[in-house]
């Protein structure tokens, strides 16, 4: 037997599994998104109505734009908040460093629900923030912070922050600390050193962290479902109601395809920008 024969042999079963339960269902999804649906089951009749509904009705267009906005905001927040943490963790000489790393990553172990529930407790109309502000006399009636898009953004950024810390840490670990020393010895202060040396050399980590957070955020269901409401629908919550409540699978599939496309478009845009800045 030729050596590569054994590669085929090894891969056969898992490859069949992935073809059957991943590739085929995705293809099916792509096709149902272009089929008409009758009583939940798509029927064999091609149509673009699903997409035109989703892309013209204000309710749906708003949801799509809101979702992308949430994704961008969450990605930016994750990167902005994750950078100082990653920088400190990588550069510190403290012997508590491993503990701090573990602490920063531990939220990853918790389900998104756990991570989001705390925000609900904190921000609901009779939560500690409202109670505190009322007691201090700053406000006379509880603030309605829930449901709102802003809180969804905060909740998701919180849930995804460890990913940002991780990707940026990985990038920072690849930067030779002597480069920063060289810049400083040549007269660059801390801020200039950071802006002209550290940041450009960790751009890949920043972009990676942003993309990762963006991708997970636009496909997240639990956080918008808990912290949002009817006025703050996202693609994920809409997909859920299409599939499970309205039982319109074609519309759900079409929204799924739009969700997929959004993440690919942003991915492509960023890769394009990266290529341009390189040349």
């Amino acid at each position: 037997m030729k050596p590569q024969g054994s590669a085929y042999l090894l891969a056969a079963f898992p490859a069949a599994f992935l073809l059957l339960f991943f590739a085929l269902p995705i293809l099916l999804l792509l096709s149902t998104s272009m089929l008409k649906s009758e009583d939940m089951v798509p029927i064999a009749q091609l149509t673009t109505a699903n997409f035109s509904t989703l892309l013209t009705k204000k309710l749906y267009v708003d949801a799509i734009l809101r979702t992308i906005g949430i994704g961008v905001a969450v990605g930016a927040l994750v990167v902005v908040l994750g950078y100082p943490v990653a920088y400190t963790l990588v550069r510190t000489q403290s012997r508590w460093q491993p503990v701090l790393v573990a602490l920063a990553l531990s939220p990853l172990l918790a389900s998104v629900i756990v991570r989001t529930y705390g925000w609900w407790v904190l921000l609901n109309h009779d939560g500690p923030i409202n109670n505190f502000l009322l007691a201090m006399g700053v406000i006379s009636a509880p603030l309605r912070m829930l449901p709102s898009t802003a809180v969804i953004i905060v909740g998701l950024a919180h849930a995804l922050l460890p990913y940002g810390v991780l990707t940026i840490m990985a990038a920072l670990n690849g930067v030779n600390p002597n480069l920063e020393r060289a810049a400083m010895s040549l007269g660059a202060g801390r801020v200039r050193t950071f802006v002209s040396v550290t940041l450009p050399l960790t751009a890949s980590g920043v972009i990676g962290g942003f993309l990762l957070a963006f991708g997970v955020a636009i496909g997240a269901y639990a956080t918008p479902a808990i912290l949002g409401g009817p006025g703050t629908q996202t693609m994920a919550t809409l997909i859920y109601s299409f599939m499970m409540t309205l039982l319109d699978w074609s519309l759900g599939s079409a929204m799924g395809v739009i969700l997929l496309a959004s993440s690919f478009v942003v991915l492509a845009l960023i890769m394009l920008a990266g290529r341009r800045s390189e040349s």
Partner: protein, 375 residues
């Protein structure tokens, strides 16, 4: 007298309870080239990092051109630093790398361009200004790093093993190039290495470090000819170390008699040597000569020895000897094409009194040094 370019007073850094670098006292005069020489982990980089402002000392003072800098951040110290890994900014061109320090000093564009061009000529990098560091050879990167440090006309140049990543031939070239440049520009330099040959060829003075302290400071000649300890002797060049004891400390003619297992030796008095005190007698292999039995010159110390092995090294012969007490010694004989020492032959190994010297000992690690001397 002008201020020293660098003065370190009792500079000390502790790492945990067990590792201490310092206290270090050192003066680098204007225009002088001083080398910190020592084995791995002896604290050379830490010393440079304290001078550079990247490591905060626990005690002691640092003066650059007469003024204290301990409290200044790195970017106010006006130093040119060449790092072991060069630390070139990979995302910037060669010219941008070299001009970085000038840009930070808010020098005008045209002036930067001119000085960068000059610096590139100085280190023979003409025409490579638009390349990225990744597109350069090791030697070229080295030159960029040097130009980047020199172009800001620093008050002091710090170089941390800048040559250790180059191959032998390039290393030898760069040694000359760096010290020629340094002399031409008159910039004081503190150079770090663990390569003794580098230290000997480049330095005005050498500070031999061991375990975080400077063990001896002096010119290349002083360090080689009068090492202050077995460690220094072993670290620079090769040395025969022979245990002995002082028999008569004060002989007429300013000499002292030392008895060793290989035979007695008369040597000049150095410092205070107690009667009967244990010492280590050191002779450089090139100062240990060979003669047929009984043919050693008058007034020299001669020991009878047996040739164990001769190794042909081109310009010289390395002759390994067994001494009377069974100990080993090495002699380098200039290859003059006449004498040949056969293995097994009995010879007289002789040396002039002033070619040997003693230090109190034997050091507890003299055996380690004795093997060290066979390098």
């Amino acid at each position: 007298m002008p201020e020293a370019a660098l003065e370190l007073r009792g500079l000390t850094k502790h790492f945990g309870a067990s590792v201490t670098v310092g206290p270090i006292d050192l003066i680098v005069r204007q225009g002088e080239f001083v080398t910190l020489l020592g084995p791995s982990g002896c604290g050379k980089t830490t010393t440079l990092n304290m001078i550079g402002g990247f490591v905060t000392p626990d005690a002691g003072g640092i003066h650059l051109a007469g003024s204290p800098v301990e409290t200044l951040p790195p970017w106010r110290r006006d130093l040119g630093i060449v790092f072991q890994d060069y630390a070139l900014f990979p995302h910037r061109t060669v010219a941008e790398n070299i001009g970085f320090g000038l840009r930070m000093r808010r020098v005008g564009r045209a002036e930067i361009a001119r000085r960068v061009y000059e610096a590139m000529q100085l280190v023979r990098l003409d025409g490579l200004g638009d390349r990225r560091p990744g597109q350069l050879s090791g030697g070229q990167r080295q030159r960029v790093a040097l130009a980047r440090a020199l172009v800001i006309r620093p008050s002091l140049l710090l170089l941390d093993e800048p040559l250790s990543n180059l191959d032998l031939k390039l290393r030898e070239e760069m040694r000359i190039e760096i010290s020629t440049l340094q002399r031409r520009l008159g910039i004081a330099a503190l150079f770090v290495t663990h390569d003794q040959e580098e230290a000997l060829t480049m330095s005005d003075r050498i500070a031999v470090m061991r375990g975080g302290r400077i063990e001896q400071l002096g010119s290349a000649r002083e360090i080689y000819e009068a090492p202050a300890s077995a460690f220094v002797a072993g670290f620079i060049g090769s040395t025969n170390l022979i245990r002995g004891s002082v028999i008569a400390p004060r002989q007429p003619g300013g000499t002292v008699r030392v008895d060793t297992g290989a035979g007695p030796a008369m040597i000049p008095i150095v410092g205070d040597l107690p009667d009967g005190g244990a010492v280590l007698l050191m002779i450089r292999p090139e100062r240990l000569k060979l003669a047929s039995p009984g043919a050693a010159p008058e007034g020299t110390n001669a020991w009878s020895a047996q040739v164990v092995r001769t190794i042909y090294l081109g310009g010289r012969m390395e002759v390994r000897l067994r001494l009377r007490d069974g100990g080993t010694a090495i002699a380098y004989a200039v290859n003059e094409g006449e004498t040949d020492w056969d293995e097994g032959e009995m010879v007289d190994a002789w040396f002039r009194p002033r070619d040997a010297w003693v230090i109190p000992g034997p050091a507890e690690d003299s055996d380690a040094q004795a093997t060290n001397c066979l390098r």
